[in-house]
């Protein structure tokens, strides 16, 4: 145990370099700054918005439209100019980003069902999310006004009937059934909510796997490059312990790095999500459908993630042996990245269960697919699929560790190299 801790502390010291600390701090600061910026932009977009209005009509209807703008958090700035061109110029010079032009005769035309076009002008002074949102809000207001005017008209003509019943004679009530539980709600909204809640799992996993694998490969490559491996292999310590300490150290540092990265990422995303309010309705539906992760779910998901990381570390150890130096180690991470990216994108864009059998087998053979699918399977109550995945990863990990330990116990640790020029393994 003393030898293990001695080696482990050396491995950790070697991995936590000044460059790593600086790059992690930089990432953290960058994400925090971007998150804060996004938050302030979103706040600005949600705050009282200025809108310039050039009302040539001055009718009751146009006044009603302006009143509805004021009610929806707009500060209306009336422009008094001779013509439209001058109004556009005046609005453009000011600090407003929106201009609404209501033509003469607008109210009269609406009353006759011959709607005159109102014109909206958006001054794009930047391409931030806030700018895009402003014009979208304006469009929503016009739609709401249209609705108001048509409802008003229908009420006058058919006072005993709800105008909505005339406009939408067919009503629908949506129900969603999951695991035999039923709740009223939109499938799209529920899927979107679950997706939003579990989006972090594949990102965290991808980050940890790539960080840790890169560290193991680099650690072995650096031992070779700095000519320290030969000495280390002749000290009285089991070769399996050497392999294990490298994996444990990289796993720990990778986990810390990923946690720091995710903390930064969360604060970045928090900036965008700061104004998104989750309605209590959808939360109730989610709870009714049992789509929230419980303690058991989190434990099983954690085990799945853990074994995926172990498999990645074992693979990285074997790949690290092929590296001649630190430079060649950078390229050797590619096979692991590919194996992570395939299930990563598949989990986002397709349902693996609907793929053809050969593709399904291929996806399941990739150990990293299992934790990517685990969240969905746990939420859908398919624990057996998750447990089979864990068993598969545990078995694969054992095979890989035995293979890595055997490589470290033989000449191969010194003689096995991947030569890019000749593209063959020389033993």
């Amino acid at each position: 145990m003393k030898k293990f801790t001695n080696l482990l502390s050396k491995e950790i010291r070697e991995l936590i370099t000044l460059q790593l600390v600086i790059s992690l701090l930089f990432t953290l600061v960058l994400f925090y700054f971007m998150g804060a910026l996004a938050k302030s932009e979103m706040k600005k977009a949600a705050a009282v918005q200025k809108i310039s209005v050039f009302d040539l009509d001055q009718s009751e209807i146009s006044k009603g439209l302006l009143a509805s703008l004021k009610m929806t958090n707009f500060q209306v700035d009336a422009i008094k100019e001779q013509d439209k061109e001058a109004a556009v110029q005046t609005a453009g010079k000011g600090d407003t980003n929106l201009l609404l032009v209501i033509p003469k005769g607008f109210g009269e035309s609406v009353a006759k069902f011959e709607p005159e076009e109102i014109e909206t002008y958006t001054f794009l002074r930047s391409f931030s999310l806030g700018s895009i949102r402003k014009s979208e809000i304006l469009k929503a207001i016009i739609t709401a006004t249209n609705n108001y005017l048509s409802n008003d008209f229908l009420k006058k003509k058919v006072p005993d009937v709800n105008p909505e019943n005339i406009k939408n004679p067919i009503k629908s009530k949506d129900f969603v059934i999951v695991k035999g539980r039923m709740a009223e709600g939109s499938a799209a909204a529920i899927s979107g909510f679950v997706y939003g809640q579990s989006i972090f799992v594949p990102i965290i996993l991808m980050m940890i796997i790539i960080y840790s694998s890169q560290m193991v490969i680099s650690a072995i490559a650096m031992e070779k490059q700095n000519k320290t491996l030969e000495t280390l292999l002749t000290v009285p310590i089991n070769r399996t312990t050497i392999v294990t300490t490298k994996m444990v150290a990289a796993g720990l540092v990778g986990l810390i790095s990923a946690a720091i990265y995710m903390f930064g990422f969360k604060s970045y995303m928090g900036g965008f999500m700061s104004n998104v309010r989750t309605t209590s309705d959808i939360t109730k539906v989610i709870q009714k459908l049992g789509l929230a992760l419980n303690t058991n779910g989190y434990i099983v998901l954690g085990i799945s993630l853990f074994f995926a990381i172990l498999c990645a570390l074992a693979m990285a150890t074997i790949l690290g042996v092929l590296a001649e130096d630190f430079r060649s180690a950078q390229a050797l991470i590619m096979p692991i990245i590919f194996l992570v990216l395939i299930p990563y994108f598949l989990s986002f864009f397709s349902d693996i269960k609907t793929l053809s059998t050969p593709v399904k087998i291929l996806v399941w053979a990739i150990p990293f697919s299992h934790p990517f699918l685990a969240t969905q399977n746990i939420l859908l109550g398919d624990y057996s699929a998750v447990l089979y995945g864990i068993l598969y990863m545990a078995l694969l990990f054992l095979i890989l560790v035995v293979a890595a330990a055997r490589i470290f116990s033989t000449d191969r640790v010194l003689t096995m190299k991947l030569r890019w020029g000749k593209k063959k393994i020389v033993l």
Binding site: E14, E230, T231, T234, V235, D411
Partner: protein, 240 residues
């Protein structure tokens, strides 16, 4: 003198290439045994096998009665290997590196301190031991590594080109240190291109070429046998 290392019919192949074609030699306690030969003769391969880095393709290697194939861990407990192009962890300070290595061999904290004290004496780097290895010159790294190899007083030190990268003064000091440790009972198996060094250091010499030992004996015996003034001429004559 007791035999510490017994090498019998040692063979090593890399694919179709035969690096060692069945060599035999013995190293006694407190003896400095040197392998000399041209590049690719099989010197480093022999040292790497004895230090458990490579597995032999044939033959038998016994160290203090332990068979290499069956008990490589017994070798590792009592040998110390200094590779020709060895390095140390650049991010560690000299003392930290020595402590890290000492911890693999010491059974008590007191023993670790004893190893470190001895290492500091061998390395003779003064306060530079408290600086990171990355700041050391090649010669300083070599002295640190030699200190690492000898601080535990192994039963046998395996030294591949021990003075590689050192200047004349440092080389002389290192040779004296190796001699001193051998006099105290440590066996040394070394290889070198430097014939003067071999002549000064070794008790016995093996001339090796193309994986075969051509001849061996003391420097004096070999010089007499080949009627040569020095080992360089001996080696050239043996090759013919």
């Amino acid at each position: 003198m007791d035999i510490v290392l017994q090498v019998e019919g040692l063979k090593k192949s890399y694919g179709t290439l035969e690096a060692l074609k069945g060599i035999d030699f013995q190293v006694h306690q407190g003896e400095i045994f040197a392998l000399i030969g041209p590049n690719g003769a099989g010197k480093t391969t022999t040292l790497r096998i004895v230090s458990t880095l490579l597995t032999p393709s044939g033959g038998k290697v016994t160290f203090l009665g332990h068979d290499l194939k069956k008990h490589p861990e017994k070798f590792r407990e009592q040998i110390s290997y200094l590779p020709e192009e060895a390095g140390a962890y650049r991010n560690l300070k000299g003392t930290k590196y020595l402590r890290f290595m000492a911890n693999f061999y010491a059974n008590t904290a007191g023993e670790t301190e004893e190893f470190l004290k001895r290492a500091a004496g061998i390395a003779d780097l003064g306060n530079r031991l408290d600086e990171k290895v990355g700041t050391y010159s090649k010669g300083m790294v070599r002295k640190l590594l030699l200190a690492r190899a000898l601080m535990t007083r192994p039963a046998m030190a395996i030294l591949d080109e021990p003075t590689s990268g050192l200047d004349v003064i440092n080389s002389l000091e290192v040779r004296e240190i190796i001699k001193k440790f051998a006099r105290e009972g440590i066996s040394v198996l070394l290889s070198s291109h430097n014939m003067l060094e071999i002549e000064f250091l070794s008790d016995r010499v093996a001339l090796i070429d193309k994986g075969v030992i051509l001849d061996f004996g003391t420097s004096r015996e070999l010089k007499e046998k080949y009627q040569a003034a020095n080992l360089e001429v001996v080696f050239r004559s043996a090759l013919r």
